[in-house]
């Protein structure tokens, strides 16, 4: 074939062929690079470049592709469809954006945290108390994870009789945020919803834990009508979902410990109370008995005293009475003179020859006055 016999494409055809070729070769491609020229237009369209030392590629997407605010200089992994636009040239249509590397992930989380803090999502006043202990728990985690095993093991060891409704979700990867959001929404839409939602996973790299700092999951946690307890990773890992939750626990085990009392400790406390009650009632009873005994003794003393007093009064009167005994006077040599049955108090009442009756202490005699 001669060069001048080459088929010439029309411009439109050429663009179409390029797009077909790209679609065949790279139906979807992931590219990692540094973010540059990031801008959001009309609150809807997102434009940016990814670049490295020698090259730069343009990207186009919508705000729905964003997990949170972004900033030039961040390292991103973007999955999308490469495409040659008929007018504006080459760009990649964004399907998914993910910050990569500790620095970018932290920076993305910081930016989102600042935005959501400004909205008041993490306000302490929003925090609601959790039921203690709950009867039904809505658990959102991966069924295969150590977090699930740890949480249920500790829960059953401590309390028991708690109903756990599991919503099995991926806790990392691209699909995780959407699945977690759906799980939260489905629990909230139940006609008989659980009393508390527990969202948990074990430790991992910053990238593994990213889903729990995504804007969608954080907003879903904050918006849940059911109170939430979020426990992600280890003590040091702090995700935005945990900040938005009503209560944060450091680990899955810690979440179970927080929700339920320790059966053994509760039993011990009850036994202590019981023993203390028994001791106290025994002590009060003994006290009452002592007081009563004391009262009885006092009463007896008072009664005895009153009787003694009465005896004294009586004996003083007896002595006086004895002194007043008229017969005692006769025994001392006095006699009573009666005339016509009446006591004679004066000699002038007696005429010569009158008959009188004389009463001595031992007998009576009759006499005639000379």
């Amino acid at each position: 074939m001669q060069p001048n016999q080459e088929i010439a494409f029309s411009v439109s055809d050429f663009v179409a062929v390029c797009n077909q070729t790209l679609e065949f070769a790279y139906p979807s491609v992931s590219i990692e690079g540094e973010l540059a020229n990031f801008k959001v237009s009309k609150n809807r369209w997102v434009y940016f470049d990814l670049k490295d030392e020698t090259a730069s590629v343009r990207f186009f997407g919508t705000v729905y592709n964003l997990q949170g605010p972004l900033e030039d200089g961040m390292l991103l992994r973007v999955r999308g469809v490469p495409r040659l636009h008929p007018l504006y040239g080459f760009s990649v249509t964004v399907q998914h954006i993910q910050p990569v590397g500790e620095g970018a992930i932290r920076r993305a989380a910081d930016l989102l945290q600042a935005k959501l803090t400004a909205e008041g999502l993490f306000e302490t006043s929003r925090k609601r108390p959790l039921p203690y202990p709950p009867e039904r728990i809505g658990l959102i985690t991966s069924k295969e994870s150590a977090a699930f095993a740890d949480f249920t093991k500790i829960l059953n060891a401590r309390w028991g009789g708690v109903e756990v409704l599991l919503h099995d979700v991926q806790v990392q990867g691209e699909a995780a945020p959407a699945q977690i959001v759906v799980a939260i929404e489905q629990f909230n839409q139940m006609s008989d919803p659980p009393e508390v939602l527990v969202i948990t996973r074990g430790g991992g790299s910053a990238e593994d834990l990213q889903a729990f700092s995504s804007e969608s999951v954080t907003r879903a946690v904050a918006g849940s009508r059911i109170p939430t307890l979020v426990a992600i990773g280890h003590e040091i890992d702090l995700s935005l979902a945990e900040l938005a939750a009503d209560k944060r626990a450091s680990t899955p085990s810690n979440a179970a410990e927080f929700l339920t009392p320790d059966r053994a400790a509760v039993l011990q406390t009850l036994q202590d109370y019981r023993r203390r009650l028994e001791e106290q009632s025994a002590a009060s009873l003994a006290d009452a008995q002592r007081t009563l005994g004391e009262c009885a003794r006092q009463l007896a003393l008072i009664a005895e005293h009153a009787l003694k007093e009465a005896r004294l009064q009586l004996s003083s009167r007896q002595q006086l009475l004895k002194a007043l005994n008229p017969e005692a006077i006769l025994a001392r040599g006095y006699a009573i003179v009666r005339a016509d049955g009446a006591v004679v108090r004066s000699a002038k009442h007696l005429k010569k020859g009158a008959i009188v009756e004389i009463t001595f202490s031992d007998a009576k005699r009759t006499a005639k006055i000379q």
């Binding site: 009787l307 009167r317 007896q318 009475l321 007043l324 006591v343």
Partner: protein, 65 residues
């Protein structure tokens, strides 16, 4: 019967009355003897009353340990 139902206070009041009369000036000897008898009678009653009360108290103390 009426004698038994009198209280200590009543008996003592009666005794005091008898003693007062017995100490009145110019008391007739016969009257004095009669009052003296009444006095003795009352002291006997009061003695019995007190003895009964003391026995009762001893019994109560025994019962209540």
């Amino acid at each position: 019967m009426a004698k038994e139902s009198k209280s200590y206070r009543e008996l003592m009041a009666e005794l005091d009355q008898v003693m007062d009369k017995l100490q009145t000036d110019g008391l007739d000897v016969d009257e004095a003897v009669s009052l003296y008898e009444q006095g003795l009678n009352l002291t006997d009653q009061i003695t019995n009353y007190l003895t009964a009360s003391e026995n009762k108290l001893t019994e109560l103390k025994r019962q209540n340990g």
